[in-house]
Symmetry: C2
């Protein structure tokens, strides 16, 4: 199963630092955003429940929906080789039934009200999320709470779901984009949790036992390792009440554990340079070319945002212009930056016809070399900032992206920045910041993954 300008955000009083340890039973207002006329547009609050479960809500003006996401601090990088794929397997199994609800009951509950209900597993976290009309929020909280705290993991369900996951892995193997990104991770991080595919392999999924998955569930699905994030038309106290009830099953909300601190690392794990290829009977060649980037907590991430935008973040970017507009070499070409607690990468993704590969690689490397030497122009700096500003504000209009922002901030960052603070940090990026960073990043040896005929 699978985020304005100042006018738009209004006045903000920020108290964003969500530093730990947090006292059990405490409730705190992390952010308040008021409109020009003084009414509250948005308010972010956090309560810590017994067991260390954090409930973070954002009350949004003008919407009639609500989105809940339960963020669990476990993902594929927490897996030993023997447990490879366990996080994702477990995510699937939590939909298969609890002591109170069958798999069909779980499906019916949110289908019947038209809710969007799904989950996804990443390298550093797993998220169960639902978007519903505001008055159906208590239902959504109850269903997800039941799944998280009360799942059965029967042997029959493990066997049926094993087949479903093997089919999912086969589907990813048929998607050239998934294949090239998995291949890149394999080259960059080797045989480590960060280098292995999230869903596991045919061999690892076939080998996993119910007992292993059950132990993994008990070990990682603890209240202190979890954040319940809710955004939309809501009342914080009511949400806390609902969460207390829904997650109170089986003594889940007991004990004096403090919320687990986010993993923060100043040291960046290095990518292993080199080229890796896979042969597939495809029309196109799919390529990812990358170098070390910056970690999630690195302040240079804002400068990297601007740099990434200038290199390949839009249709006015250097790569789009040089590769597609001027030369017609590819339909899809863009750059991206990804961040982990202790690693990061910046890369370029492109798909082209096989006979254009050399030319595409020449153009891409040439553009990276130019930006490493000369940085970006003042015009690109301003455009990049505008693009990040507008994209940030446009991307936070719906309850789903607000939920993700506060949930992820609580689980994996050491602070929740207000939108105005993020905008200020973007505005603070200088030409020198970008030039220094580009020179450092693109002087590194490349990691190259190629999939094609």
């Amino acid at each position: 199963m699978s985020s304005r300008n100042n006018r738009a955000t209004g006045q903000q009083s920020s108290a964003g630092r969500s530093s730990v340890p947090q006292k059990v039973g405490s409730t705190r207002t992390l952010l308040t955003v008021k409109g020009d006329d003084g009414q509250v547009l948005s308010r972010v609050r956090r309560t810590v429940l017994p067991g260390g479960l954090r409930v973070v809500t954002e009350q949004m003006a003008g919407v009639r929906s609500a989105c809940i996401g339960v963020w669990v601090g476990v993902g594929s990088r927490d897996e030993t080789p023997a447990l490879h794929g366990a996080s994702h397997f477990l995510e699937h199994l939590l939909f298969k039934g609890t002591r109170e609800r069958s798999a069909m009951d779980i499906s019916v509950a949110l289908d019947a009200v038209g809710g969007e209900f799904n989950a996804f597993t990443a390298k550093e976290y797993t998220c169960f999320h639902a978007r519903v009309l505001d008055h159906d929020l208590p239902l959504a909280v109850d269903v997800i709470g039941d799944m998280i705290t009360n799942s059965q993991l029967t042997s029959e369900d493990v066997e049926a779901e094993r087949d479903v996951i093997l089919d999912e892995i086969a589907m990813h193997d048929d998607d050239p984009d998934d294949v090239v990104h998995n291949l890149f991770a394999e080259q960059a991080y080797g045989d480590t949790p960060l280098g292995r595919p999230i869903a596991g392999t045919e061999a690892s999924i076939t080998a996993l036992t119910r007992a292993q998955i059950s132990r993994f569930y008990k070990h990682h699905y603890r209240a202190a390792n979890m954040v319940v994030a809710v955004a939309g038309n809501l009342d914080h106290a009511a949400v806390v009440r609902d969460v207390r009830k829904a997650f109170g099953r089986n003594g889940f909300l007991r004990g004096d554990d403090l919320p687990r601190s986010p993993k923060i690392s100043a040291v960046s794990r290095k990518l292993r340079p080199g080229t890796i290829t896979a042969t597939r009977a495809l029309e196109q060649v799919n390529v990812v070319l990358g170098v070390n980037g910056v970690t999630r907590s690195d302040e240079r991430r804002f400068a990297l945002g601007v740099l990434n935008t200038a290199i390949g973040g839009g249709t006015s970017s250097r790569l789009f212009q040089e590769v597609r507009e001027h030369r017609g070499l590819a339909y899809s070409v863009f750059s991206f930056a990804s961040h982990h607690a202790d690693a990061g990468m910046v890369g370029v993704s492109v798909g082209c016809l096989p006979d254009k590969l050399d030319q595409v690689l020449d153009v891409v490397r040439d553009e990276l070399r130019k930006v490493a030497l000369d940085g970006i122009t003042a015009e690109e700096l301003e455009r990049g900032k505008g693009q990040l500003r507008g994209g940030l504000v446009l991307g936070l209009e719906d309850s789903g992206s607000r939920m993700s922002r506060i949930g992820k901030a609580e689980l994996v960052h050491d602070e929740l920045l207000s939108i105005d603070e993020v905008l200020a940090r973007i505005d603070g990026v200088t030409l020198d910041d970008v030039r220094t960073l580009a020179a450092e990043l693109f002087a590194q040896p490349e990691v190259l993954a190629i999939v094609g005929p």
Copy 2:
């Protein structure tokens, strides 16, 4: 380039029928939705400009963004074999430069404000759309108006973009899902415009000349064949003023043409039964199995919506339960209904491992046979209605989906239903409606498309 309940909708005064002919210069309020306290939550208005250009806006309370879409009544089904792919080729070319703006100017304009800016081509229409912060709307209107009325289509641009499109076609050829759907259309509609892939083929794209595309542009991109739809935080009169200026280039808004009427057909074109296969070196087999459905204007589309939901519209649906939950035969299985002016289809899409294909097809056919014999249960009827209600309201919270709703309604439907009217029609669906429709649809011979090893 690439694509509630009463409480939530408030009180609606509906005057939705957008029947033609519409007088040039006229402005009409099509819908007004008020909240419980009497304030206007949403208002849909339409003005017809000289030349027959329709401007439809929906003013939304509580958002700070706006989304514009220019809907042009031309798509791949308007193409002769010699023009196959011309609609999509032209869509690409309109981004390549006008007499006032270079391709780079076009890209820079919306990138610099963080706007989302793209276009897509379908079988019956082409849409150019942008989502921006409300104060950037005049800029977005100006850029798109310039592209639509003032593009150059230079020979150099035609050649460069030809390569980009060939690369896009190769990308689609590598996507199992695109391949199986194109194959299904080929079997169902044969060598007709509806049966051919939207982007064209390598041969047709290689053969298209600048002169052909230019004639196609002049013929189809006329004011009367176009709807400008805008939703978000806006003022209708201001939008009409901006559109008048942006689209007033080159005498575009001249003449007494009335808006072109939507193509409505009571007669449904029949799918050609049979099986079509394509061999690819894939891990999975991808299958689409379908029969004739109903046209876009057919009142039975609401009953079909409920039926489709019960068969394969969610995780509680029969197919998800039988194929995935109970038997673990596939990761992805769902049903869908698609509608054209004079054709429609209802089908099932599934991807599975090759050795499970026969079993999957048995289960799917068995479920369709059962629903043809016995219809659905009262519980499924209620759940299906709830699912459509919730999905409808949740799906209309953002300016983009509102823009699409009013734009498409004006271009291809004969009426704009208020949300409450749609909800009433959903509520009006009976068990008998669904049973009668299921018996009729699933007694028809099937069209089957299979792609795999």
